[in-house]
Symmetry: C2
Subunit: 219 residues, 2 copies
């Protein structure tokens, strides 16, 4: 007998300088009533991307169009990860900004929770979230992926805070600005943000709002 096949969704957003993940409360056993990533069985004739999108809509009331970046994360297949028997999970990571949930239309009571204060999770979902967080951290170093979690325009201070929140540690302001501008990913908008007594700050935007990989030349 083949293993069963499921899809699980790891959706991250930045909110008030906090990295949050979308969780649901499971409507059915096993782990009924416990927190988990939104997940479903895959059906034949449906790709795993389609299963991912259906799961977000139905279980978490989350319109996947709100995600600015989606990628396949990893396929988890430890034999003992599901008490019902060997189940394989194809996982996807989605990133967005200001993601709204249609809670009334959701079957599993969805909400966002801070990664700094996660509830106890069903299955191996804590492992999956940690894996996704690590992937996101490493992508910050060689891609423009953070664009998906920011407004279209932002100050360098806002960009640095996004990086710090995801990485989980402070960065030196001067060096961060020098490095990030040297990567040629950003452009000035010409607009400035005036806030309180501070000097107006230049607003930047990413040259591309699609994933761009920093190529490290070998010569």
């Amino acid at each position: 007998m083949p293993p069963t096949l499921t899809v699980d969704a790891v959706v991250f957003r930045l909110q008030d300088n906090d990295l949050e993940v979308l969780l649901v409360k499971r409507a059915k056993d096993p782990f009924k009533g416990e927190f988990a990533l939104p997940g479903s069985y895959c059906s034949a004739g449906e790709t795993s991307t389609e299963s991912f999108e259906r799961t977000l809509k139905v279980k978490a009331g989350c319109d996947p169009k709100q995600l600015k970046l989606v990628e396949q994360l990893y396929t988890f297949d430890t034999v003992a990860r599901d008490p019902r028997g060997h189940a394989i999970s194809i996982t996807y990571m989605g990133l967005g900004k200001d993601i709204a949930l249609q809670k009334k239309n959701a079957t599993e009571d969805p909400d966002f929770y801070s990664l700094n204060n996660l509830p106890k999770l069903a299955f191996d979902h804590e492992i999956i979230i940690n894996y996704a967080h690590e992937r996101l951290r490493s992508k910050l170093a060689y891609t423009n992926a953070v664009f998906a979690m920011l407004s279209t325009t932002f100050t360098l201070t806002e960009l640095q805070m996004a990086y710090e929140t995801i990485l989980g540690h402070k960065l030196d302001k001067r060096n961060f600005r020098k490095k990030i501008l040297s990567y040629d990913l950003l452009k000035e908008t010409g607009e400035k943000l005036t806030a309180g007594a501070h000097r107006p700050a230049m607003l930047y935007m990413f040259k591309q709002r699609a994933l761009e990989v920093l190529v490290r030349s070998l010569d």
Copy 2:
């Protein structure tokens, strides 16, 4: 009905300055007698890594212990990729040097074929090989992955040729040496290679013969 679940193996080796991939001739329909990646159905109770290793041994006579680096590549799930019905393939990439095949013990007539001259392939296996090649290329820029395809010790000329073969283009000798030494991945062995009329060349080795990711500091 859920999709069926398979594992396919993309095993690369460098041979005579050529990048080669392990292929088999399929023993059964569909695509009987045609070239394909070694692949199998997954069984419950077996992880996909275990299915990968079993497939290599049984179908391709390849002892997976010869692979110096193995990683999950991607899970392919296009609905129409298998004429038998919706089949999902968890793919793994394995890298090695001097990989020997026990052809007598193999069920599907395995051999290595140059990526520059691939035969027509069954299913979507050409897409999978191209995806793996692209992953390998990009890993060269931010990891030490090439160690898995080289002897323990090597000259900088041999290292550059390995990079050029995988990337598919020439690199500037002086800049390559400067960059690769700046990454702090290599150490001098103290030994030199004397060949023909050339000046003896320093032999290097990787500090680690396990995957090491170059961290790009953001400050």
